[in-house]
């Protein structure tokens, strides 16, 4: 999708020029008020840009101009076939849960291989709620119904605005894999707004970072998360992470561990049953989960100790912490340790160290 959009929103000047190759899930990330929801509204056609151009290119090569201020094109909302899950509750109060779902379902029966009604109801565990009135739903239940309703529009493109924010861990764990499948199984690309880095790393391959209405960065989730600082991403320091691209070399089926080669270094990590040797995967490693040792530990449960070279040392004066950038045979890895350890271990630039990563820091879902 080719986005080139300008729009004045009160004090905020939204101005985004970006090619979004939406094969799969693109995260839209940025601090509150940076213009994420406004951008989605412009893509759906609910609002009209002051100027610019908006062109949709599907995976199959289909190209549609949704908006073009120079030629005066402005395709109406309902013809764009974009599924949009609003940030706030927008269920229809005059319809039951079932009525709300069928509203989308009936109007969008496009192809036989698409998501079925039951798929969606099952995935979001809505069968016991179908006859409820919408006022009788809890916050999380509303959120799930809204998500289901949006999915049932079987759109060309799905825009989800913080879809999981009201859900508890259990529900998130159940809904996330379902969302993960959508792009590959049902060929529905997703633009996903969230404040949650876990969701970003798990769901998305690419990320567009906004700040005050402007594009800050766009690229592979791994490289953006590794290369931008927490300030640039608008996240907490201790959430700063590295994303490493690796290939599974071996699966240990008994202990459910995957041996993963990243730049010829081996990581041993918990794995989900679907992982296969040869598969390439990306590892999100939080800097705070990476410890440093001068020697390779032997009798501990910490399974991963990889040799690295210290390339950068950033002491955070007003905090107890320091951040290390490590070079691991060409890949870059961040570590977050206390300034006390930094001193004690007498770490210096160019020094060889072992990065310690506990396997249990990874959930199989990261694979």
């Amino acid at each position: 999708m080719s986005l080139n959009i300008k729009k004045q929103l009160g004090d905020l000047k939204l101005d985004v020029n970006q090619e979004l190759p939406i094969e799969n899930v693109v995260a839209l990330f940025g601090p509150s008020g940076c213009g994420k929801s406004s951008l989605l509204r412009l893509i759906t056609g609910l609002d009209t840009p002051d100027s610019g151009r908006l062109e949709y290119k599907s995976a199959s090569g289909e190209s549609l101009i949704f908006f073009d201020s120079s030629s005066g094109v402005n395709i109406p909302v309902h013809q764009r076939r974009i599924g949009y899950m609003f940030q706030e509750d927008r269920l229809f109060p005059h319809l039951s849960v079932l009525g709300n779902l069928e509203y989308a379902h009936k109007r969008n029966q496009v192809s036989t291989e698409a998501l079925t009604f039951d798929d969606v109801v099952d995935a979001l565990q809505l069968s016991s709620l179908l006859n409820r009135k919408t006022v009788q739903l809890s916050g999380g239940e509303k959120q799930r119904v809204a998500l289901a309703r949006t999915l049932l529009t079987r759109p060309r493109l799905l825009l989800l605005d913080e879809p999981l924010s009201g859900l508890d861990y259990d529900r998130k764990r159940e809904v996330l894999p379902f969302l993960e499948q959508l792009p590959t199984l049902f060929k529905i690309p997703i633009v996903y707004v969230t404040h949650d880095l876990d969701e970003v790393s798990r769901l998305t391959k690419q990320i567009l970072v906004l700040s005050e209405g402007k594009r800050v960065a766009f690229g592979a989730t791994a490289s953006i998360i590794s290369s931008l600082t927490s300030e640039q991403l608008g996240i907490e320091k201790q959430e700063e992470s590295s994303l490493l691209d690796g290939v599974i070399s071996k699966i240990d089926e008994v202990f459910m561990l995957a041996h993963i080669l990243v730049q010829n270094r081996e990581f041993i990590l918990p794995t989900a049953s679907t992982a296969k040797p040869g598969q390439s995967i990306s590892l999100l490693i939080k800097a705070r989960d990476v410890g440093i040792s001068l020697s390779k530990p032997t009798d501990s449960s910490i399974r991963n100790s990889v040799e690295c070279v210290v390339t950068e040392i950033l002491e955070e004066e007003s905090t107890p912490f320091a951040q290390l950038n490590l070079d691991m045979n060409g890949a870059s890895l961040k570590s977050r340790i206390t300034r006390a350890s930094l001193k004690e271990l007498k770490l210096a630039l160019g020094q060889k160290v072992f990065a310690l990563i506990k396997s249990a820091s990874f959930e199989p879902r990261f694979l």
Binding site: T44, L46, P76, V77, H78, R81, I82, G83, Y84, F86, R90, F92, P93, H94, Y103, A104, R107, N108, K133, V135, R149, T150, T153
Partner: protein
């Protein structure tokens, strides 16, 4: 004592036609008024309410002037339909449309305004075409406004007789509505007949209104 019920049917026919026509005419207008940012809006709103201000017979008098086949409006109508407007059922309908317009427009517009754009937006984003979105979302969510509008229009058209008398000419089967019949009885001191006809009219209207409201109660949306 002869009770002429033909006037009752004529009245109900008139009220139904006027209510139905106004529903179609007033709705797009109310929609436009509710969402326009035009500077003309207050002007139009004021103009719509104006016919109310004139006493019905006086409004009827001005309508007669307009209906005159030599006046612009009457002439145009004559050209198009080959018929005069005054003293015809069509004329009654037009007069009632003008007279009752504000009763239809205002409650509907008011409910559109309080509904806001969100439900409509949501429906579009779910793939509904504008008309579809209107019928399946805006209409049911503003149902109470439509109901109020229709009840006021319907009841008012039934009860109206000043305008009707003036432009209708009281032609049996054609323009002699029940309100005129009751009025006649009162004027000629036939109070018994007046009571009976009023009773019938009230009872019928009451039953119609009651069933409408009972239905509305069952139907009612729980907005919290």
């Amino acid at each position: 004592m002869i009770i002429d019920l033909s006037s009752l049917w004529l009245t109900i026919k008139l009220a139904l036609i006027v209510t139905a026509l106004l529903l179609f005419l007033a709705t797009p207008f109310a929609l436009w008024l509710a969402h326009t940012k035009s500077r003309l809006k207050p002007l139009l709103e004021a103009v719509i309410a104006l016919p109310l201000v004139l006493p019905p017979t006086v409004l009827g008098f001005y309508l007669l002037i307009a209906f005159n086949p030599n006046a612009a409006f009457g002439k145009t109508w004559m050209k198009i339909t080959g018929d005069t407007l005054a003293f015809s059922f069509e004329g009654l309908v037009i007069a009632s449309l003008i007279y009752s317009l504000p009763f239809m427009v205002q409650p509907i517009q008011s409910s559109f305004e309080s509904l806001g754009r969100k439900p409509y937006e949501t429906a579009l984003s779910l793939g509904a075409k504008p008309l579809d979105a209107f019928l399946t979302v805006i209409f049911p969510l503003s149902f109470r406004g439509f109901l109020t509008a229709c009840v006021l229009t319907f009841a008012h058209t039934i009860g109206e007789f000043g305008v009707v008398l003036m432009v209708g000419g009281n032609i049996p089967q054609e323009t002699k509505v029940i309100s005129i019949a009751i009025y006649e009885h009162v004027e000629t001191l036939e109070y018994a007949q007046a009571h009976i006809l009023s009773g019938i009219l009230l009872l019928m209207s009451f039953l119609i209104l009651l069933s409408v409201y009972a239905y509305n109660k069952r139907y009612r949306i729980n907005v919290g």
